[in-house]
């Protein structure tokens, strides 16, 4: 039954997370020098510090036991504490702070994609060859071929420096300020992603509109509204949903990148700092969080296609 199917999917996600956690944990022994050296970083190796690290990371136990204990801590949301990025602060706390900003940015961009990009793509597909379609397609092609950082800098220059509509850096305090600070990065992100999505929805829409079932619906005199919604939009959403996972994941990775350009202190910036400073616990925590996000996104997309497409639903029903 469907519940079993869902549970199996979740189970598969958990397994993937475990594998990821193992890889992440291995980072410690893979980093140059001994694990102890890695954990010490540039700090002076006082005997107390060494002792506390040995105890905290069970460095004298065999590798597998170390992993088990570390995993136990992780499950209790204890990711250790930062070495160099914010020396001594618990990784969980740092992550929580940075994650909020990244999530806000990603959500803002997603909102723009769904309210502007998606409808534009659909409209272009329906009015194929008309002026709207040509304008949208041209825009999408340009956005796809322009590298994201060029676009970011151009937007930054025009709206930030020249027109001064939006602040150039910083995060702002309070809701309105935050929104205005995040607008330029979100627009950049949304433009890059929409370009891909517009092409996809346009193609899906065009494909659907040329299908026999749309022709047959017209021949039966169904209302144009019904044909648009129940026939065209629903069917066109299938291929888009399938690729949504990919789009969302690329949204995530682009966010990391855009944060750099707009110097926003989000997860991306954190990851970069942690890697350059070989702050292993922070790297571990960040990678785990990002990995979990990717797995969750894919799970959500799977479930969404289960809701929309009866064929998938039936496979799920019979298969479980």
């Amino acid at each position: 039954m469907i519940a079993v199917f869902v549970l199996k999917r979740i189970g598969a996600g958990v397994v993937l997370l475990l594998v990821l956690s193992f890889l992440v944990f291995s980072l410690l022994s893979l980093s140059p020098g001994t694990p102890l050296q890695a954990l010490l970083g540039t700090r002076t190796a006082s005997p107390e510090l060494i002792d506390s690290l040995n105890v905290r990371y069970h460095l004298n136990d065999p590798f597998v036991v170390q992993y088990g204990r570390w995993l136990g801590d992780v499950v209790r949301l204890d990711l250790g504490s930062s070495i160099s990025v914010q020396g001594g602060t618990a990784v969980g706390d740092i992550l929580g702070e940075r994650l909020a900003l990244t999530a806000e940015l990603a959500l803002y961009a997603l909102l723009l994609v769904l309210t502007v990009g998606l409808p534009l793509g659909m409209a272009a597909g329906i009015r194929r060859g008309r002026r709207l379609d040509r304008a949208v397609s041209l825009g999408a092609t340009m956005a796809i071929s322009a590298p994201a950082f060029v676009m970011a800098i151009v937007l930054l220059y025009i709206f930030g420096v020249a027109l001064k509509w939006f602040p150039v850096y910083g995060t702002g305090t309070g809701f309105t300020e935050r929104v205005s600070h995040l607008t330029l990065p979100a627009v950049t992100l949304a433009t890059v992603l929409s370009a891909v999505l517009i092409r996809q929805t346009r193609a899906a829409m065009m494909n659907v509109m040329s299908q026999d079932y749309v022709a047959f619906a017209r021949l039966r005199g169904l209302s144009p509204r019904r044909i648009l919604v129940r026939y065209a939009l629903r069917n066109a959403s299938l291929p888009v949903i399938t690729s949504l996972g990919l789009i969302l994941v690329s949204l995530l990775s682009s966010t990391l990148f855009i944060e750099q350009v707009f110097s926003l202190p989000g997860i991306g910036t954190l990851l970069l700092q942690a890697v350059t400073n070989t702050d292993v616990p922070v790297v571990q925590g960040t990678v785990l969080i990002l990995g979990a996000a990717v797995i969750l996104i894919n799970l959500a997309v799977d479930l969404l296609s289960l809701v929309v497409d009866p064929r998938v639903r039936l496979v799920a029903k019979e298969g479980a």
């Binding site: 199917f5 199996k8 299908q211 026999d212 079932y213 022709a215 047959f216 619906a217 017209r218 021949l219 039966r220 005199g221 169904l222 019904r226 129940r230 026939y231 629903r234 069917n235 299938l238 929309v308 497409d309 009866p310 064929r311 039936l314 496979v315 799920a316 019979e318 298969g319 479980a320």
Partner: protein
């Protein structure tokens, strides 16, 4: 009752219908005809003759880039002069159309119930309970159980889908239904059932029906009158009985004669030589002149008008666009008579040494679903047969009966999961176990001709290049033709074809090239997988003749896969009937078709002879 039905005037009247591309190329030229309420009109003609465009023009549903001109009067509405908005209320309620392919006509995300409910008149659509009851009633009318309502299209067979399509099209009880090849995409026996259903519905409702088909037999069995189209023009329009007894246009005659007989063997299969010209090249002459044996200069001076030639024996108006019909009518009648009177004698089956021995062949597909649960589908079970040298064996059955899987096993395209296959003393059950040189030998002995010549030829290679490649593979075999000219000659093509690409060939020519390619290595066994199913009648006979010729010249054994009983009759010595992966009946073809023993074979035979029992609805 519509005003038209009351006054007995035509329900639909078409005058000088022209269909052109936006660029001005003529596709349909001056089509004119009337249809009375409750009447059935069959439109027949080869692929590309303009049947679909004519039908679509009638309901203003032409594809993009194509425009229509002329007068179409449907019960007082000038269709071509009306706006899409004005026509919408008439769609479904006054006229409706059913498309060829039931597999694509339904919204994959909607249940059957939703499809029918949305098509209903608003007064039934509103209430939940009323709608439910009405949908059930409509389903029952097309012979479907009420449980079907909650299924999605992908859960239904082709025949069931076409029934749903019909129910949806008729949901607002239109006076005219246009059905464009409604059964072409279905299995033979399902075809008969769906046609039966259409006929019954048409009669019960007194609805006018335009049935488009390229199958004359189908047209005769359903229609009151038949209109023959060719190259975008109407050549003859006659009462069905007159058309089948005494066609009054050389093209109609050619079509009738080209239909391979299902009841008896024919010594020669007649066909219409040449090709269909493009519609815009023949607007001012007889379109058929290039292929007509009675053609004289008077035929090409100007376009022959569709003249009234109604005789006493005609049940209704009879028109023909042949200017010489008065002179040649008698000769045409002679041709019809001699065709009917001369059943040929089937050659006595050759009984050479066995070439192919298939024993207890089985094939089971195991698939791991995405959740790890295993499913098994058995597509072949215990299939055994022997094929002698020079013999032609038919494999008869519907889609999914395992015909093609059997062929694929013999060709080594898929591995059998049980049983054995022996070719000329070599065990070829598993091609992977053959040594390299053995495999090459086997490949030289077995060749295949597929159904779709469009898909089986590489579009970027010229005919010459494709065939030379094949010839070099057959070098060294004494049965293989030695030159490209010889090979092209074998399939009746001049060497000028060598420089053409597949896109510049007609369907029949492509199939010839595909046959030539398989002959290049001088095979001993030719597997023909529905070689003429994608071709028009006139071309079908041509390709069948070619295959017969090859068989008698080279003593090639043939495994003839077909769903068409008449093809089996004409092309095979013995026939196996496959159903659900098992052989249900086997025997000499003539005997098997004349006196079928198994109930399934009986139903197949009954279906083609037009005596399908109305109640046998296996796909319900």
């Amino acid at each position: 009752m519509s005003p038209a039905a009351a006054t007995d005037g035509p329900l639909l009247s078409v005058r000088d219908l022209e269909v052109r591309t936006a660029a001005g190329r003529t596709l349909v030229h001056k089509a004119s005809f009337d249809l009375k309420a409750g009447e059935v009109l069959g439109i027949v003609g080869e692929s590309g003759s303009g049947k679909t465009l004519t039908a679509r023009a009638l309901v203003q549903a032409l594809p993009e880039g194509v425009v229509a001109d002329g007068d179409i009067d449907f019960d007082g509405t000038k269709i071509l002069q009306s706006s899409a908005r004005d026509l919408r209320p008439l769609r479904g309620s006054r006229f409706a159309m059913v498309l060829q392919d039931p597999f694509t006509a339904l919204n994959p995300l909607q249940t059957v119930h939703e499809h029918i409910r949305e098509s209903l008149d608003p007064k039934f659509r509103a209430g939940r309970v009323t709608a439910r009851a009405e949908v059930e009633r409509r389903l029952a009318e097309v012979g479907l159980a009420k449980e079907v309502a909650d299924r999605y299209p992908f859960q239904l067979s082709g025949g069931m889908r076409q029934r749903v399509v019909i129910a949806a099209a008729l949901a607002r009880d239109p006076q005219l239904l246009i059905a464009d090849e409604p059964t072409t995409a279905l299995d033979a026996s399902t075809q008969a059932q769906v046609l039966d259903l259409l006929r019954t519905l048409q009669r019960e409702r007194g609805m006018a029906l335009i049935l488009i088909t390229h199958d004359l037999r189908v047209a005769f069995s359903v229609s009151d009158s038949i209109m023959v189209m060719y190259s975008g023009t109407v050549l003859e329009h006659a009462p069905a009985s007159s058309m089948s007894a005494a066609p009054r246009h050389p093209y109609s005659l050619g079509l009738l004669l080209a239909e391979p007989s299902v009841t008896h063997y024919q010594d020669t299969l007649s066909f219409i030589p040449g090709q269909v010209p493009a519609a815009d090249t023949v607007t001012s002459r007889c379109a058929f002149a290039d292929r007509c044996r009675w053609s004289t200069p008077s035929c090409t001076d100007k376009a022959p008008p569709l003249a009234d030639i109604t005789r006493v024996e005609d049940a209704a108006r009879h028109t023909s666009a042949c200017v010489r019909i008065a002179e040649i009518g008698a000769q045409m009648d002679d041709a019809m008579r001699s065709h009917a009177a001369r059943p040929g004698i089937a050659p006595t089956p050759t009984t050479g040494a066995p070439l192919l021995q298939v024993t207890d062949l089985g094939k089971t597909y195991r698939s791991n679903s995405l959740l790890g649960r295993r499913t098994q589908t058995t597509v072949l079970k215990g299939v055994s047969f022997t094929l002698a040298r020079g013999e032609s064996l038919g494999l008869l059955g519907e889609t999914g009966s395992g015909k093609t899987t059997t062929a694929r096993c013999i060709l080594g395209l898929t591995a059998a999961t049980a049983g054995s296959i022996e070719l000329d003393g070599v065990d070829i059950t598993d091609y992977r176990r053959l040594r390299g040189e053995q495999r090459a030998q086997v490949r030289g002995k077995v060749q295949v001709v597929f159904q779709d010549p469009y898909a089986s030829l590489n579009p970027s290679l010229t005919v010459g290049a494709a065939l030379s490649e094949a010839l070099s593979a057959g070098a060294g075999n004494e049965r293989a033709p030695s030159s490209l000219e010889e090979l092209l000659g074998l399939v009746g093509l001049s060497s000028s074809y060598a420089v053409r690409k597949p896109s510049a060939l007609s369907g029949g020519e492509r199939q010839r090239v595909a046959i030539a390619r398989s002959l290049a290595v001088g095979p001993e066994l030719l597997i023909c997988d529905e070689p003429v199913a994608a071709l028009d009648v006139s071309v079908q006979a041509q390709v069948l003749e070619l295959l017969r010729d090859i068989r008698s010249r080279f003593k090639t054994s043939m495994l003839f896969i077909t769903h068409d009983l008449s093809v089996a009759r004409q092309m095979t010595d013995r026939t196996l009937v496959l159903r659900g992966g098992e052989v249900v009946e086997a025997g000499p073809t003539a005997q098997l078709l004349d006196a079928p023993e198994h109930a399934y074979t009986q139903s197949l035979v009954a279906a083609v002879s037009g005596h399908a029992p109305v109640t046998a609805r296996s796909d319900r």
